[in-house]
Amino acid sequence: MKKKGFILMLSAVLSLSALSACSSKNNNETQPASQGASASPSASAPASEAPNQDPVTISYWHIYTDGPMKELTDQLLADFQAKNPHITVEQLGVNFFDYWTKLSTAMAAGSGPDLALNDTSTVPSRAKTGAILSTDEFIARDGVQLDDYFPVLVDRMKYEGKMYGMPNDTDVRVLYYNKKMFADAGLDPNTPPANWDELEQYADKLTKWNDNKMLDVIGFSPALGNLHFWTLAWTNGGDFWDDEGKPTFNSPQNLEALQWEKKIQDKYGVKAMSAFNSQASALGFSPFIAGKAAMIVDVNNLYSEIQTRAPDLDFGVAPIPYKANPASWSAGFSLELVNNKDDKRAAAAWELMKFLTSAEVQVQIHEASGSLVSNMKAATDPKFMDDPNWKMIVDQMEHSRFIEYIEAMPSWHGNLDPVEQAVLNSGKDPKEFLDGAQKDAENAVANFAKTQ
């Protein structure tokens, strides 16, 4: 290679690495607040303990980097600081994909924020190790009514009987059904399927094939939307963990649920289904909105999506059809006080947490994002409950469950998606694959026990 070539090549490599450095910086997209967010809150912390009204600066990290929630967050923080002039909030919004890495490493290094938005499902992991603070004393002192919040969320914020933070918002899965297609197929648009058998019968009637043996409209598919195998298993009285923390993945109820899914899916066949199948919901384009699925189980967010994308769609919302007992699946975000060993900042962060979870503010959050906020007073505000669909969504919180937090296997449900996909898309045997998942879970639990 000649010198010129070498230099050209070198500069190409260098500029590449420089560019990738830029782009990785962009990924971490920091959204400095008006004060310019600082990652080291300790630098701005006052040295001495003093009464409440001394100025204090706290940091708040969240995932709202653009759109209405970003605007609302800016406005809410301005409101909060107007009410609490002694507290300065430095906010940092990080995009969802990078947030979790940044937050957990910063917390591990002791440079985490004072108030953090985090995953409700994994509260015990942080509570157990003292990474976050209990909010019991604050709640008692300020008379915050936990009864105002969805019980399942309050329950999930507890570790060994103590509250660790406050729930912020959640979601829940419901059945959406296309009323026009119901009427066209001779079904009563006001009687959605209530159980598995009805769901299957209705699905058969609603499915439309075209001349190429491809699916024009799918009646119902467990592979579309956001049902997930464990949710369906729960509606069959199934469970994945017993009271002693042992896996029961291949219990008869679970197996029955998976076999039922397979039975439904096999009606469409792998070929037609794979042509149909898509990650549409991840693209904000659900097959239900596109009029390609007559019924779908999906998150409550789909409701706001329908309202913006297809306001004319004639549809209804119903509980997930069940076999043994009603159930749904929820996940959510919590607000937590990171243990930065600074009582004053923790107290100020609590004030912000209390503000953000108060009914008035949560009403605004719901209005901006359509999300299912944790404060029942806000979520069931009369002006929202006039809408029968929204009422139906809120009502499902009564039966909804969270993924159990299993320290040995925090993402155990992640192991069930591949099982479901193998059975539904690749025609694999449900029993064999559930047994396999059971064995993996047993191994993981046994192995984890050895590390303790």
Partner: protein
Amino acid sequence: MPSPTSRRRNDRASVSPSALQGRTVETPRKGYDSVQARRPMKLSTKEALNGYLFFSPGLIGFLVFMGFPILYSLYLSFTSYNIYSPPKWVGLLNYKFMFTQDPLFYKSLGNTLYYVALSVPLNTVLGVLVAVLMNQKAFGIRVFRTIYFLPSVVSGVAVALLWQWILDGNFGLINTFLANFGIVGPGWLTDELWSKPSMVLMNLWAVGGTMIIYLAGLQGVPRSLYEAAIVDGAGKLRQFWNITIPMLTPTIFFNVIMGVLGGFQVFIQAYIMTGGGPNNSTMFYALYLYNKAFKDLQMGYASALAWVLLLIAMALTLVILKTSSKWVYYEGADSK
């Protein structure tokens, strides 16, 4: 990159300081044994010391910000560590579990090898071809070069989101296009069979990054060789095969190694587009490692995974290095 050119440059660079040293050292040193002071030995020591001094900022930076974390992760790989509480020593348990009881370890490793085995050759062939094309003297060629190069500078997240649209089974560009010809395209990202090839395809889109390096290599091929070949009556194809390719082998060698190492780290596409699905078919090693570290907070196990990956990547690189003498041709090195 160990190229003869760079070695030559280094030699030249090291000549002048030592000559300079020689002159300055000779005179002042009084307290020392004068004989020893004049010895070349002493000079080289001092020269080495200066050398260390000069690159110490880099060295210290490396040791503190790379060396220490790397070694610490080796330690962590023998522990159970959940980030929030101190690591607990568990000996070889992580490695034992990985090799004997973790099907996802093998699955993700298999996926990654599949990806590397498919994407590196394709990238090499396409990269060379596009580079040769872009090396033509045609009107507006610089514009084309830029166009081909552009995708490789776009942030990975943006690329992934873009391709999610292109590859979408129902509404994606590709399947909509295929539908015009009555072809029902597969669910590129939702079909187990197609998910990995789709990601290889996606990666090919950014071939401009390697193209630019090949292009640089091509520009370094002396014209005289082609002229001599033309005189000897060699056709275009023969010139390409017997001159261009051999002269390009050091560049290919470099790109293959970088491609393999990059391939082992394939992460962002799967993280954003599929989350490892369907049925773990895009669960690449780096994604699995990330999930273990940041989703399950099993840092110890994730560190063990990282070290196993390092050993595998190192072994493969070594194999490629060993074979390089058989196929990599360095200008001026063939006289032996």
